[in-house]
């Protein structure tokens, strides 16, 4: 009887999970395995038969391809700056917005709204602000800051992208931190106060350690999101000026679909996969270790 029940349960579980499993398999894992194959071929995405060339693509990638190395460096620079800045700002905002302000709810909504918008639209809005908007502001105020070519200067374009992506993402991380802050029980904080902990001491030695799970989540999310950055760059600069703002994903896209080197593009995306996998496991491991139990 019990055995029959168990088998039935198994069947039921399978029938619920099965359709999803098949879909995910077809949409995610099958293309993944296929791209492993394509990464070992020379294929332009058009021809009927890809030519098998073994590991030649990977060899070319690390010996002759400056674009890829440049885009990895760009993405690394971007990721570090993005992770640090976005987490600090969103944590500060969260701390400010859990206080009992009258406008707290409205402010939370205001900071969260950019996150709901699609990245491409955010990109186009900011492109308009940087070019036409700043031109009009310059005509009105004559301030030097508006005269700078924010998207046309090779160095400034990088910071423009950082500013816009932080503006877009900060609301999301803020919400995670707010949830984390609200979950800290009041009695712990009261106990700390009674024991004589001041404001900043209480924050750094009581609140921050208890926020561990939120911090892990936020760092992890911002890490994966920043390595995969694509659409906002596409909309803002399209990789320009002079190809200085290509991220790895944009470089893969260009290689596979614009340069018609599908095989090389697949090889690049596999390398990216390995990098993301290694980095995230490493980071997750470190932060998990540091978390404290509540």
């Amino acid at each position: 009887m019990q055995l029959g029940q168990k088998n039935k349960m198994k069947l039921e579980n399978l029938s619920f999970v099965g359709p999803c499993l098949i879909l995910v398999g077809i949409m995610v894992y099958l293309p993944f395995v296929m791209s492993m194959y394509y990464s070992m071929t020379k294929w332009n995405g058009i021809a009927k038969e890809p030519i098998f060339i073994g590991f030649q693509n990977f060899i070319n990638l690390f010996t002759g391809d400056q674009n890829f190395v440049r885009s990895i460096l760009f993405t690394a620079k971007y990721s570090i700056l993005f992770i640090v800045v976005v987490n600090i700002i969103s944590l500060l905002l969260a701390v400010a917005l859990v206080k009992k302000l009258k406008t707290a709810n409205i402010l939370r909504a205001i900071f969260f709204i950019p996150y709901i918008m699609s990245m491409i639209i955010v990109g186009f809005i900011w492109r308009f602000i940087f070019s036409q908007g700043f031109a009009s502001l310059q005509a009105m105020t004559d301030w030097g800051i508006f005269k700078l070519s924010w998207l046309g200067d090779t160095k400034l374009a990088f910071y423009s992208i950082i500013i816009v992506s932080i503006w877009q993402a900060v609301g999301f991380y803020m919400v995670i931190y707010i949830a984390g802050l609200q979950a800290i029980p009041d009695d712990v904080l009261e106990a700390a106060t009674v024991d004589g902990a001041g404001g900043s001491y209480r924050f750094f030695h009581v609140v921050l350690p208890l926020l561990g799970p939120s911090i892990t989540t936020c760092i992890f999310m911002s890490l994966t999101n920043s390595i995969k950055v694509f659409d906002i760059i596409l909309a803002l600069t399209g990789g320009g000026p002079g190809g200085t703002t290509y991220s790895v994903t944009l470089d893969i896209y260009r290689e596979a679909f614009q340069n018609n080197n599908y095989g090389l593009g697949a090889a690049k995306s596999l390398v990216l996969f390995v990098i993301v996998l290694a980095l995230t496991t490493f980071v997750l491991h470190i932060f998990k270790k540091k978390e404290v139990e509540m």
């Binding site: 070019s131 036409q132 046309g152 990789g239 002079g242 190809g243 200085t244 260009r254």
Partner: protein, 444 residues
């Protein structure tokens, strides 16, 4: 228990749906086979039954880019219904990412009957999918320049719905106001004209240097002047890594001189001006000359300023006025899938568009483009009319952009952007262009 059964059945239905999603491919192939079998006997006695067979209802699928001509294309489809009521045409037009979508369709085996590519390098890349049109009436109707752009290995593999022209667009009124009597034909005349325009408080240039493709449009005039008789041959030399910029002063020095001039006398933030900013600056009279554009901007300029007086001329590329020519030809092609089930009907449709009386008028009156065919009227627009005037007395340059792939042109645009941003010196830029041309110029 009943509930459980219900949910189990729902799951099965869902799973079944997933499965059936995969199945049409096989049935589709089966269907194709049966159609072929059915057609085989028909082909045998096609001679007697040709008229009867062509009355059967058929469906043609067209998948192309250039949404700006959607209305015009629908107009000829409408008109063709009157000629052949049995032909239904499914038109699918997209702009964003057309090449990617086309590749997806081809790889999934759903090749449309008619599809679009660029001319030049892609003519070769898609040759194995394209029907050879060399002996069709539409190939005979093409202008010679267009036919060259559509051919690979001596065979005509495509046909354009418009011919194109490239040159420098200028504002006639502003030129007159500044006291410039004739458009500049040499680089020193160009510099003098810029000074005159600055004197009346007008910005001489708007460059659009944010767009990488602007560079290839401008550069081709300089490249054509380097070896006017065999542009394709010289490109091949560069792709083979044999030719050097240093041997051709128009591309080695004059082009960079022009870029310097355009930046000096151009927009405040050159690498931020895109196409729309460029059009706005020109149409509102803030700038007197546009870089790297052609007839396609005329409609947008007139939308902002209906009374704009648009002039059209070649780029000054040297100190010899004879080098200053406009360029004409076709850079986009429609292709007919050679494995199409309705091949005969598709070919018939485009022979009709290229040779019938309606078709001849369609180019200039409905689509308002420069016709790709001989003896058809030119549309009543300023740039095409100017082109026709110029071509009465001068020869047009060759379409250099067709001889390399866009992968190279894009990299080229980025290198020149770096030069404008002062990240590269002229020598570094040239060195990198020479290095990437062999890698990206042709399909590997």
């Amino acid at each position: 228990m009943k509930k459980r059964l219900l949910s189990l059945m729902m799951c099965l239905v869902l799973a079944g749906g997933v499965m059936s999603g995969c199945s049409p491919k096989t049935t589709g192939a089966d269907a194709a086979d049966t159609v072929k079998e059915a057609e085989a006997p028909k082909a045998a006695d096609a001679e007697q039954t040709e008229t009867a067979a062509s009355d059967e209802p058929v469906t043609i699928t067209i998948f192309q880019n250039m949404p700006e001509y959607t209305d015009a294309i629908n107009a000829y489809i409408e008109e063709y219904k009157k000629v052949k009521p049995n032909v239904t045409i499914n038109l699918e037009i997209t702009q964003s990412d057309y090449p990617t979508m086309l590749k997806a369709k081809i790889n999934s085996g759903e090749i449309p009957d008619v599809f679009a590519t660029t001319a030049g390098g892609e003519i070769e890349a898609y040759a194995e999918y394209s029907y050879d049109l060399s002996n069709e009436p539409l190939a005979a109707a093409m202008t010679d320049a267009v036919k060259v752009n559509m051919s690979y290995d001596g065979k005509v593999y495509g046909f354009p719905i418009k011919s194109n022209t490239f040159g420098m667009i200028y504002n006639k009124e502003l030129f007159e106001k500044a006291g410039i009597t004739a458009p500049p034909k040499t680089l020193s005349e160009l510099e003098a004209a810029c000074e005159k325009l600055v004197a009346i408080g007008v910005k001489p240039f708007t460059t659009g240097y944010k767009e990488w493709w602007v560079q290839k449009h401008v550069f081709q005039h300089f490249f054509d002047a380097a070896q006017p008789d065999d542009v394709g041959g010289l490109v091949k030399e560069f792709i083979a890594g044999k030719a050097k910029f240093a041997d051709y002063p128009t591309i080695n020095d004059n082009f960079f001189k022009f870029v310097d001039l355009a930046v000096k006398y151009g927009d405040d933030k050159p690498l931020e001006t895109d196409l729309s900013a460029e059009i706005a600056a020109f149409a509102t009279g803030k700038a007197a000359m546009i870089c790297g554009q052609g007839p396609w901007v005329e409609a947008d300029i007139l939308k902002i300023n209906p009374s704009a007086q648009i002039g059209f001329t070649g780029y000054p590329v040297s100190e010899n006025p004879a080098d200053c020519v406009i360029i004409a030809g076709a850079d986009q092609a429609l292709r007919i899938n050679k494995d199409s089930k309705v091949l005969k009907e598709v070919v018939e449709l485009y022979n009709w568009l290229y040779t019938s009386d309606y078709g001849k008028k369609w180019f200039s009156e409905v689509a308002q483009v420069i016709p790709p065919i001989k003896d058809a009227p030119i549309p009543n627009l300023q740039i095409p009319t100017a082109m026709q005037e110029i071509l009465k007395t001068e020869k047009a340059g060759d379409l250099y952009i067709n001889y390399s792939l866009d992968s190279f042109h894009q990299k080229f645009g980025e290198i020149i952007q770096s030069y404008i941003a002062k990240a590269y010196t002229k020598e570094q830029a040239i060195k990198e262009i020479e290095a990437v041309w062999p890698q990206l110029g042709v399909a590997q």
